[in-house]
């Protein structure tokens, strides 16, 4: 396979594979010394470690798109299987509902602003290790990557800390995901079972809905396939939108295809039907990977994690795509499976979790301390022992570091820089986020509390000076 040429440091003897991974990130990794002989390491050793880890990522997947999770518009046998064999979270949030920023948080456990990935197409700050670099540095897992990366290049054969087995094609998940999953299948079936691996299978779909939007913006008023009329899903209950939203949301809505193309309700429904077909497409490709894990005898030894980078508007609030804090864009599927270890067929509706939790969780499973300054936490206690997480809230960011979302158990608070309009939703009584409570005086104390949480959160961050608006957030509150 094609070796990568990027950063890896090891305190062990450096073999050829290690050597070719040493690069610019090595200095940064040296700052995080390997764990040896301390109490922490002893505690870690007591818990079993999966021989392999497979991280499956989808792109732009709305939370409610899994049949086993209750979606009646799709067939998703692969995701159903994964869901039933493990733990799924219903309150799982993207750390930044945009591709590159979300991925930077997943692969580092640091916020996108800290990673200096505040917009698409930027590399992770060189002194923050990614999961591939960290695992190959600290463990005996060999690290492999297939598919979309986007940090900075969408597809590339050069990813720090990983050996890239398949690159994909930018913007064409409908074609390249099949080639990618076949490469993963070959890898899994040929892999020597004695050698531990960490494989990332990063699918492009259902992101091609972006191409669909561009190819179906016009021609409303007549359905291209009239025979589908009876099969189109209904519009969501929160299809309408608040006319007093923050300006950035209004602008985003106006700039999207449905408003440019003056869609009628039937066209919205056709878009939703089409999006579900994208979901089924990627589900089948995920199924190929799961089948290969099973057929090759890896299933009992492998922790499988599935997450999406961000969600999809799907017509809720008349939004499409991502980059908003509404649940449809910000919430993502998150599934864990490891037979005999992770609880089976469990849906966690209580804990609010984040893409920031992936790195600390995988490090926990790998038996190592995560890199310094994690902003997420390990979910292992929840996955295996029904422990309660002590964390009170999570924070998400939005494109170009212009917005923040604080999600507590009961509320979602949203604020944008240079915008007086704040949003506060009671997520227990109004999960569709249709009533902004921020303007009601009786909620003043809740607002103050959430602003305070945000300020405290911001003050712990290490945001580089070249990231816009870093100062704004440190002082806002």
């Amino acid at each position: 396979m094609k070796p990568n040429t990027t950063a890896k440091h090891s305190s062990r003897d450096i073999n050829r594979r290690d050597f070719i991974k040493i690069g610019s990130g090595a200095v940064a990794l040296l700052a995080h010394a390997p764990i040896t002989g301390n109490a922490f390491a002893k505690r870690r050793r007591r818990r079993p470690k999966p021989k392999n880890i497979v991280l499956i990522i989808t792109d732009q997947q709305h939370m409610d798109t899994i049949a086993a999770g209750g979606c009646r518009h799709v067939r998703t046998p692969a995701l159903d299987r994964l869901m039933k064999s493990g733990v799924s979270f219903t309150q799982s949030y993207s750390a930044n509902p945009l591709c590159s920023p979300a991925r930077s948080a997943v692969f580092t456990g640091r916020t996108s602003s800290e990673c200096a990935v505040h917009v698409n197409g930027r590399p992770i700050r060189s002194d923050i290790p990614n999961l591939g670099q960290w695992l190959s540095e600290q463990t005996d897992y060999e690290t492999f990557y297939a598919g979309k990366w986007h940090l900075p290049r969408t597809y590339t054969s050069d990813i720090p800390g990983f050996e890239v087995i398949n690159t994909g094609i930018g913007g064409f998940g409908y074609l390249c995901d099949t080639v990618m999953s076949r490469a993963c299948e070959g890898f899994l079936r040929n892999r020597n079972r004695a050698k531990p691996f960490f494989l990332v299978a990063s699918f492009m779909q259902p992101h091609d809905i972006c191409e669909w939007l561009r190819l179906n913006m016009n021609n409303t008023g007549k359905l291209r396939y009239p025979e589908l009329a009876g099969a189109l899903p209904e519009l969501p209950n929160n299809f309408d939108y608040d006319r007093n939203e923050p300006d950035s949301i209004k602008q985003r809505r106006r700039g999207n295809e449905p408003f440019k193309g003056r869609w009628d309700k039937e066209h919205w429904r056709y878009y939703r039907w089409s999006y579900y077909r994208h979901i089924e497409y990627v589900d089948a490709e995920i199924g190929r990977v799961l089948q290969a894990i099973e057929d090759s005898g890896h299933v009992d030894d492998t922790l499988i994690v599935m997450i999406a980078d961000h969600g999809e508007g799907m017509g809720h609030h008349q939004m499409v795509r991502k980059s908003s804090f509404y649940n449809e864009s910000a919430r993502v599927p998150l599934l864990f499976s490891w037979p005999g270890h992770v609880a089976e067929n469990k849906t966690d509706t209580h804990h609010v979790v984040s893409g920031l939790d992936i790195t600390p969780t995988l490090c926990d499973y790998a038996g190592i301390r995560p890199p310094a300054h994690m902003r997420g936490v390990s979910l292992r206690g929840i996955l295996e022992a029904s422990e309660r997480l002590s964390r009170d809230f999570i924070v998400s960011e939005v494109s170009t570091n212009t917005g923040r979302m604080v999600r507590t158990e009961d509320y979602k608070y949203i604020t944008y820089k240079d915008n007086l309009v704040e949003q506060l939703f009671d997520m227990k009584t109004d999960p569709g986020e249709t009533k902004n409570l921020a303007t009601l005086s009786r909620n003043a104390s809740v607002l103050v509390e959430h602003r305070k949480l945000l300020k405290e959160w911001e003050n712990q961050l290490d945001v580089p000076s070249n990231v816009p608006n870093g100062e704004v957030w440190r002082h806002k509150g």
């Binding site: 094609k2 913007g171 409908y174 070959g186 079936r189 040929n190 669909w212 561009r214 089948a284």
Partner: protein, 258 residues
């Protein structure tokens, strides 16, 4: 300043493919062409990013050869290559034995997939084979490549409609599909109107497929969302040239990094 990009706005059709530069003219079909006999069709795999000015490109090719085994059966020899970023190539090839029925129902298949690296090297760790026969419970199945054959033998008749379960790539099961005749369409390809017959396929796990055939029942174009299969005798040569260009570009990029 960023280049202005115009949203395409409409689904891919033969006329739009012409507008976008994906096809110059439709290939002509020999009078001898018999969809139920031996033939070879080569297609360019073309994709559209949704803008008129950028991101639209050939990314692969597909060659299908029909070999007549008997009155009751035939073999499809399939070879598909897809070019990926940094000059990696995914290849799948092999043969599918089919019944000579309306669905081209698969009897058995022997396929192999492999990956080629940027320097043209085979990557043995990623090789895979898929040899199979329909198993019990696989009712009314056909494959996506089989449909490219079957659709050429269907009658141009409003009554033509088939329901089936799709075995995509002879490996991924996608149930509840329907393929129906969608009428004859006048298509302006720049040199006057051409009449093409259209079949439409719906089903789980796919975006609708549209199959466009000429009057001799030869399949000229297939579109599905942002991808198109374009019949082109030069498809293999064009792909080989694109791969070589991608490798050169990749090597140049690598040397610049060093």
């Amino acid at each position: 300043m960023a280049k202005k990009r115009t949203i395409v706005g409409s689904p891919l059709t033969p006329a739009l493919l012409k507008e976008l530069g994906a096809v110059d003219a439709l290939p002509s079909t020999s009078r001898d062409f018999n969809p139920a006999d031996a033939w070879v069709n080569a297609y360019r795999l073309w994709t559209c990013h949704g803008y008129r000015e950028s991101g639209n490109q050939n990314v692969g090719f597909l060659r299908i050869e029909r070999v007549r085994d008997s009155d009751a059966a035939f073999t499809l020899k399939v070879h598909e290559e897809v070019l990926q970023t940094d000059a990696m190539v995914g290849i799948i090839d092999g043969a599918i034995s089919c019944r000579n029925d309306p669905l081209a129902s698969p009897i058995r298949w022997n396929l192999s997939s492999r990956s080629i690296g940027a320097d043209g090297e085979d990557i043995p760790e990623l090789r895979n084979t898929n040899n199979g026969v329909p198993t019990k419970g696989m009712d009314r199945i056909t494959g996506d490549w089989c449909l490219l054959e079957a659709v050429q033998r269907l009658a141009f008749d409003k009554q033509t409609s088939m329901s089936f379960n799709l075995l995509e790539g002879m490996s991924l099961s996608k149930p509840d599909h329907r393929l129906s005749y969608g009428g004859v369409h006048s298509v302006n390809m720049g040199a006057g109107d051409t009449r093409l017959h259209r079949f439409v396929q719906f089903g789980s796990g796919i975006l609708p497929y549209e199959y466009w055939l000429d009057a001799r029942h030869r399949l000229l174009i297939v579109t599905s969302m942002n991808k198109a299969y374009l019949l082109d005798d030069r498809a293999g040569d064009i792909f080989a040239r694109d791969v070589e260009q991608a490798r050169t570009s990749y090597r140049k990029k690598q040397s610049q990094r060093k």
